[in-house]
């Protein structure tokens, strides 16, 4: 490891704001879903915002972010305009996915946010590939490297894809940070049916990399763990594995009532958003009135974005080229029938 990098301190108010933006945006989207105005389903990160926001906030231009299904907070904090999330859910032609892909399947390739495909585990290797390409072309600055963060659930950690990608990153000693959010369930499957090690952080040893474990319903712990892992990765310490404990405070998607979740777990659940609110109160950063005002401001901002998206146009099938090729010669020479 080169010079250690100081982990960034947490701005609790900013952290809370991003959590809140995500929560309010997803609540609005859920309500649109219940009104039948969103095709497919809506997937929320309720209860996981502290972790996700901590990631998005601490990434920098040039970094790579591969968010997953529960990462609205991270996406927004990384730079996704709220309206883009709404456009994608609605399938608007104005959105960056142009109605071709939807809900959580979007990204901003040029800004380094990868548009996830559904196959769990499949986003890790592309992150590794980006870092490897940068290593080869000399674009990793010693001592202060760009990083790639890939998010995954405890269920997704059991895919062969994750194993291969993490190991490749370890062999190439790349600044990959794997954030495994163990929210107790993979869809309906309790985590003990997905793995039986004590904590997924125990996987780190077997890949020869550094592991971090935290209770991610605690905003400070989530922030601090992400900060430390990112600092280590930037310093040249190789890949990092974060295992974060939390609970999904919603269904797998909004179509799911999550009746299978252990009532005891539900009862004991801590909402990181409540915890984050309490934190800024306790620290005297905001008072109750200011908190309420913040909520209102953000709600207004989110509603405006969603309302605008609602007013925008759907794609029109007859305008579609159905052109699959990027290459100009192929696009010109080969019909859509291929």
């Amino acid at each position: 490891m080169d010079q250690p990098i100081e982990p960034a301190p947490c701005d609790a108010v900013a952290h809370l704001q991003w959590m809140l933006r995500a929560r309010l945006l997803e609540e609005r989207l859920s309500s649109l879903y219940r009104q039948g105005r969103i095709p497919g389903s809506v997937f929320t990160g309720r209860g996981q915002e502290a972790l996700s926001a901590a990631i998005g906030m601490q990434l920098r231009p040039g970094d790579i972010f591969a968010p997953l299904i529960r990462d609205m907070a991270g996406r927004l904090a990384f730079g996704l305009p709220a309206i883009e999330a709404a456009r994608t859910y609605l399938g608007r032609i104005t959105g960056h996915m142009r109605g071709r892909d939807g809900n959580v399947h979007h990204g901003l390739v040029d800004q380094g946010m990868l548009p996830m495909i559904s196959h769990l585990g499949a986003m890790a290797a592309p992150c590794v590939g980006i870092l490897l390409k940068r290593k080869i072309t000399g674009a990793l600055v010693a001592g202060d490297q760009c990083v790639a963060v890939v998010c995954i659930g405890e269920g997704g950690m059991q895919t062969g894809a994750m194993h291969e990608a993490i190991n490749l990153a370890a062999v190439e000693r790349l600044p990959l940070v794997v954030v495994a959010a163990n929210n107790g369930y993979a869809y309906s499957t309790p985590s003990h049916q997905n793995f039986v090690c004590r904590d997924l952080v125990d996987r780190a040893l077997g890949y020869g990399l550094r592991g971090w474990s935290c209770d991610a319903t605690d905003c400070r712990a989530a922030w601090q763990t992400v900060a430390q892992a990112l600092a280590a990765a930037r310093s040249g310490d190789g890949p990092q594995l974060i295992s974060a404990r939390l609970l999904r405070l919603a269904g797998h998607g909004e179509h799911d009532d999550a009746a299978y979740i252990d009532p005891a777990l539900k009862a004991a659940a801590v909402d990181c958003l409540d915890q984050g609110r309490q934190l800024v109160l306790d620290q005297g950063l905001l008072d109750q009135a200011e908190l309420a005002a913040l909520h209102t401001t953000i709600k207004t901002e989110i509603d405006a974005a969603v309302d605008q998206a609602l007013g925008e146009a759907d794609p029109v099938a007859s305008d579609e080229s159905w052109q699959i090729f990027a290459d100009p010669i192929l696009a010109a020479g080969a019909g859509a029938q291929a």
Partner: protein
């Protein structure tokens, strides 16, 4: 698609599973989220883990291991059924299916009887990774039987027959049919039907439409419409995509002389291409017009329902193709 009391496609396939689990202790079920109280992403296995304790099991998110475990269980005398949550994710278990399950009998003389259930096909808002038809790649290697029920009765019959079959069977269940397709005349418990026989769903003398899965309903609707124009369409439901029942198709062509093959899958190297190729090889002289393919567009499946509808073929597309041939 009739009265709500009628048996659904989903209920029929669930009933088939319940029956084989009850009748045959070699049968067990492995897949993601299949256990109660959840009972599977589409509720196909709802109630089964309760009725058959220990024999319906949740698996980690590990498609390759699920498929590979089925290979082992089959070689050890079991009759495993595996459920992939979506057909799209079965690709992560493709190696075990294509190179292990499919090759074992030919290599070793020992059968490898497993059934892989793949919820397939499009639903609006499903997008590129939850709507795929996987038969294009699952038919590429020798050794897999691929079936795709298009009726409620077949959802039941083909699943029972698949479990009875000594070869690995890919069972493609169409998500759109789960609740939308109902059959008041559904009846359980008859003799096992052969797995590899196509069915003539509607007789006609002007044109043969060969299809399968959810497109059977589309083809029948198209035929009704065409009948009003005086075009008499025969509809063949392949039921089994591999091996193909070319005989039944040729018999039909001997009557109609015209062939449309319709599928929700992508065009290139598809089941439709194969039907046309086999027909050309064995029944070229029967063709009074060029055989036509009606398939999905050559792009990923769009998320937005308006694009999605334009991406997949429908009854109109079939009608157009039939009209084109009849007026050839």
């Amino acid at each position: 698609m009739s009265s709500p009391e009628a048996t659904t496609y989903l209920a029929a396939l669930r009933q088939a599973m319940a029956e084989v689990l009850a009748a045959d202790e070699r049968v067990f079920l492995l897949g993601e989220d299949v256990e109660d109280p959840f009972g599977g992403a589409f509720k196909a296995t709802k109630g089964l883990s309760t009725a058959f304790p220990g024999r319906v099991r949740n698996a980690p998110i590990s498609e390759d291991a699920i498929a590979g475990a089925a290979v082992g269980a089959a070689l050890d005398g079991g009759r495993p059924i595996i459920e992939f949550q979506f057909a799209d994710f079965a690709i992560c278990g493709f190696n075990q299916l294509a190179n292990h399950a499919a090759t074992t009998f030919w290599r070793t003389g020992k059968p490898c009887p497993l059934v892989a259930r793949l919820p397939c096909g499009g639903t609006p808002g499903g997008g590129p990774f939850h709507c795929q038809m996987p038969e294009g790649w699952l038919t590429a290697h020798p050794g897999l039987v691929v079936v795709a029920p298009g009726t409620v009765q077949d959802a039941y019959e083909l699943l029972r027959a698949a479990v009875a079959c000594d070869d690995p069977v890919i069972y493609l269940e169409h998500k759109h049919l789960y609740y939308h397709l109902r059959d008041p005349g559904f009846s359980a418990g008859g003799p096992l039907l052969p797995l590899h026989r196509a069915a003539v769903r509607r007789s006609g003398r002007d044109c043969t439409v060969v299809t399968y899965s959810a497109m059977v309903q589309g083809a029948l609707a198209a035929a009704e419409g065409l009948a009003l124009e005086g075009i008499d369409t025969e509809v063949i439901d392949l039921r089994c995509l591999k091996p193909l029942d070319t005989e039944t198709i040729l018999e039909s062509l001997a009557r109609t002389g015209r062939l449309v093959v319709a599928s929700e899958g992508w065009p290139y190297g598809s089941v439709a291409s194969e039907v046309i190729t086999q027909v050309c090889a064995e029944g070229f002289h029967l063709l009074d017009a060029p055989p036509r393919r009606v398939a999905a567009r050559n792009t990923p499946i769009p998320f937005h329902p308006a694009l999605w509808s334009a991406h997949r073929p429908d009854a109109n597309a079939i009608q157009e193709a039939v009209r084109g041939l009849v007026n050839f």
